[in-house]
Symmetry: D2
Subunit: 360 residues, 4 copies
């Protein structure tokens, strides 16, 4: 009792940071977690895990560090653990960037044992009992956790973030859905190389080239969009048609969107609605919440991956080229950083929301 | 009379090649003309023109040759002329790859003086009296020339080819229009750097980047598609929604297409219809006509610019990723070489059609 | 007298910032100046100049901003002036990133009128009376200013920084020269696109390509190296053989160096000497001086432009691949950020040195 | 006896093609072999081998075809075999593009059993009994085969081609060695992605980047150059200092060379000597021998990989930027296609030489 009180006070006073583990810490998304959490005020990296091959090495030796310079201290000197329960004893919150196959096995096992997990893996995103949360869009889906615990008999819980490409699509659609209603979405993406992780795409496949295909991505875009935009346990009932491409950019997923609305509109209205979008995380002032979350640019040639992916440290979403196709169809382009907002950063924002709600 | 008879016999026997000029020969499209016409059986380069700055120099010195190695003989040694009527005295057919502004002034003047012009410029494409011809799609539009001459009081004539991005879109839509009917098209393009000509896109703007905008291109895609797919003087009445991108590939424009048909369909039917498409130029056996003009690939990750742009020497069109979105909407990706099929090669095919029809 | 005293006190107390102008502020190097000076403790941007075309516009409208997002406040809202004396009335220090031709005319005129100029232009670098200063290498060359003023009858003065490629070469050679002596240098560079400014290199010239030539660059590398490594007015007498390349990287010039020393050496000794290099600016603690200025990496595949160009905010120099070719020849690779350390940042460091020496 | 006579007559008359196998046929170099040999007048592909994983599949399904379009007929329909002796029963000549480790085991075993092997692998290049042959440079090394067979007790034999980077270096050095003598070579390479094979270099490692290291490459450049330029069994005794880079080009290795000669020279003399170089294969008129083998360009910015790698179908070598550093040191840049001249094509030329010498 005293301990809980103390913990509560500590949280309030911000004196104590929550101990976290990063699973799959040597991968590309894991590296983003390490970078973002190394200076985070509420979370403290206690454990870094990776595959057997990396276990036992210092993080700086185990990770093929791709973010420039060297991994930040003190993570760089931490010894990487194998991804096993034993490694996680003192951990209060688990960020999982495991490959899907490993996530399928490890995550439910950890949730059962009482761990609280925020996962970037696609393994359980479409599980009807797992909320897929973008804090700006569907924070109310946090309520699904309760039923999840009951039905799955888990002491902990599992929350997913969406696919990195779904993220900017859904964040830009949400204010349109609220203001104008949505009938149908057609989208084509141009996705960065880092979206495929490391090793990922071979240079011989992508230099002077574009690949009009990413395995499973179009299906994810369609299914995740309606799950997130819907009510808990009740997806939105609209068609989402998608074609995807891999292009030779390092970071930043760009989508062209044709959205059929339920009401007539003016482009300036759409821009205003996007600019004024101030959802829960921004109103709460969550630490990693970009404000405004959507930047709307008026230039005719933006957003561009290299110029706009770092808006608000990579946590924001940039919209441009808003135009009217016909009385009901608006078109625009939207971009966000796929490994920050679309993966590690997006997950950290979920964790900040959970913390604010006293769930971690 | 005798002369005409002789000419006729020569043409029949193939002994004589038609003398042609290339206007704007030092530009990127001009270079493709030079390359393709240097070994053409029916056309012979007699005159190469360019701006004042290049005039008087050998072609190999005037052109910043971008196609590898050196310009072909004998063009490489020809003296570049300034783009003026005087330079064209012995020329029977003019291929114009002038910049739009120059084309606006020069082309009508030449047509008035009796020259027969096939132009890659956008200047007159939307002129209601100028046929914009893709031989596989609308060869009947050649008939517009008669009224053009009358109403414009031209002794010669002017025929345009379409925008390089319109080309693969329209060639792939034509058999679908014929077989299933068309209600609506949504398309997003990924366009190569050579589409912007030379100098064109700065490397600092495009390395590790994508630009979601090309000036005037979306409007062209919309307007040209319906003009070409329609009857002479009567555009097809369907909406074409387009968003365009410049991507860091050298050659090859890729489009994702969502086409709403008038009839239900099976993907395999669509593939069959595309594969069996054998329009006039292929039936006539025109020299540059690729056969089949459309290659349909079954792999899930094709067409790709670098791997597929050279199909049939860059004159063919490659379709892939054919899929069914819903009962009426088919989606697919389509690619063609923008400076061969989409510009110089496409114009040469038009000229071969005109020659076969005894118009040049 | 009182005023000078006050100025002195202000400088000491850091209350007053020196008013500076950036000439050529819309160019790529000008943009780096704007970015670096927008948060500089000692310098305050008062005037931004550019060509006639940009004059009268807000900076954010005049500059094709290439550094991501938007130009920083308050520069973004400043009105760009034409590059003329009248615009500079309240300015104490001038950073010139003018194109060479403009610099040739403008800089001496300004120096004559009393302006203190630090220039990134190549125009006067090889002028025997103009010191070309890399603060870590030849701070004593500041003494050349006195004779410069006398002989040129200038009220102000002109100091140059070196070519962006010379910078990492010379910084890495200096400690070797001091410790081992130098007989001969052979170097081959791989230079980034931003080194050519904007517009600079066309994408069609460099995608899937390398250009083994940069106009005047090899000559500069040779001449500047010996000028900087020598005494004031007395260049070092050693041969410097150079071949240069433009490669498709955005930022960061990489050089391979084969240096023939005067003494036998062990690679570990060379590494130690480089690591322990702590020249004047680092000892003085100049604001922009990276410490250590040289990072020596032990991995076999570093430095790499994308991973290492931002070492110490782009002000440091990264060396790797130190090896012994024979008893006297050491080889290594060295990298620095060409528009930060190699241009704007390098010039600001010069200005900080001049300020510390009470010359501005 | 009759059979040999018949064979002789067939060879003379060119009626019969020699049956060849390609080991490692699905790899990138294997693909070049398939492409080049599919239309070769003297060699006929009979067997394609690859790893266990590919065995049993049609070639077009087993190979991730990277050369554009589809693999040529009839190879595309051939069934890939596992790399075992049993698969090679009817084969007269073996082209091996096995990975080094596999080559180490397989090649001697095949040579022992009587197979004649031309190998692109590095496994045995530095074996003192294995000739490493560039037909233009050291055709006399073919004579080493006799001693090889004796000492190794092989019924067949093994001939290597050099590393792909050594190739242009040595071809350009040979005429200089003959005309001026050679004292010392310093070289820095910029090597294409295809040199690393497939999968090879990850896109995340090389987009907007350069890697100043390739495992083992500098050592190979040094050792191979002196072995090839020397007499059989007696390497040339000069130092070769090399630094290497991987750059984001698809094909074409570029080298900057500083060569110290034994005699004074004029750049024009060097150019003449290179241009007039007409070694044995060119004098013999071997089918794949480019003539002239060396193209010397006078432009200040050539050779460039994308513009010059296809000189003579990728079999030639392009030199440019010839200049004089001092009385004895000439500098130049040299380029050749690394998977054609530098690998498959270079090996085929070796085989043509062996055929001409009646060794296959």
């Amino acid at each position: 009792m005293l301990k809980r009180l103390l913990g509560f006070l500590r949280r309030l006073s911000g004196l104590r940071r929550i101990s976290v583990a990063i699973l799959g810490a040597t991968g590309l998304v894991g590296q983003r977690f390490v970078k973002l959490l190394s200076s985070h005020p509420f979370f403290e990296i206690k454990v870094l895990t990776a595959s057997e091959r990396s276990a036992g090495k210092k993080y700086k030796e185990a990770a093929h560090w791709l973010l420039g310079g060297d991994p930040p201290e003190p993570a760089s000197e931490m010894i990487v653990q194998e991804t096993r329960v034993e490694a996680l004893s003192d951990v209060e919150l688990v960020f999982s960037s495991l490959p899907s196959e490993a996530a399928l096995k490890v995550e439910p096992m950890l949730a059962e044992q009482g761990f609280k997990i925020v996962s970037t893996a696609s393994a359980f995103r479409m599980d009807p009992l797992v909320p897929m949360i973008i804090p700006e869009v569907n924070p109310s889906h946090v309520s699904m956790i309760e039923r999840q615990r009951e039905e799955k008999h888990w002491k902990g819980f599992l929350v997913a973030k969406s696919n990195c490409t779904t993220m900017p699509l859904v964040i830009s659609l949400k204010p349109l859905l609220d203001a104008f209603g949505l009938r149908r979405v057609v989208t084509v993406s141009l996705q960065a190389l880092s979206g495929a992780g490391y090793p990922g795409v071979q240079s011989l496949d992508i230099v002077d080239n574009v690949i009009p295909f990413i395995k499973g991505e179009e299906e994810k875009l369609q299914a995740e969009t309606v799950k997130i935009l819907g009510e808990p346990f009740r997806p939105l009932n609209i068609p989402v048609l998608a074609s995807v491409n891999r292009v030779p950019t390092l970071d930043g997923h760009l989508l062209h969107v044709f959205a059929e609305l339920e009401k007539d509109f003016e482009p300036e209205e759409v821009k205003r609605v996007l600019r004024e979008f101030k959802p829960l995380p921004q109103r709460m002032g969550l630490y990693s919440a970009p404000d405004p979350v959507i930047q709307v640019r008026d230039e005719e040639d933006r957003p561009q991956p290299r110029l706009d992916r770092d808006y608000k440290g990579g946590m924001g979403v940039v919209v441009g080229r808003v135009g009217k196709c016909n009385s009901l169809t608006v078109k625009y382009a939207v971009l966000s950083h796929n490994t920050v907002r679309g993966a590690a950063g997006g997950s950290i924002l979920v964790a900040e929301l959970l913390r604010e709600m006293r769930l971690v």
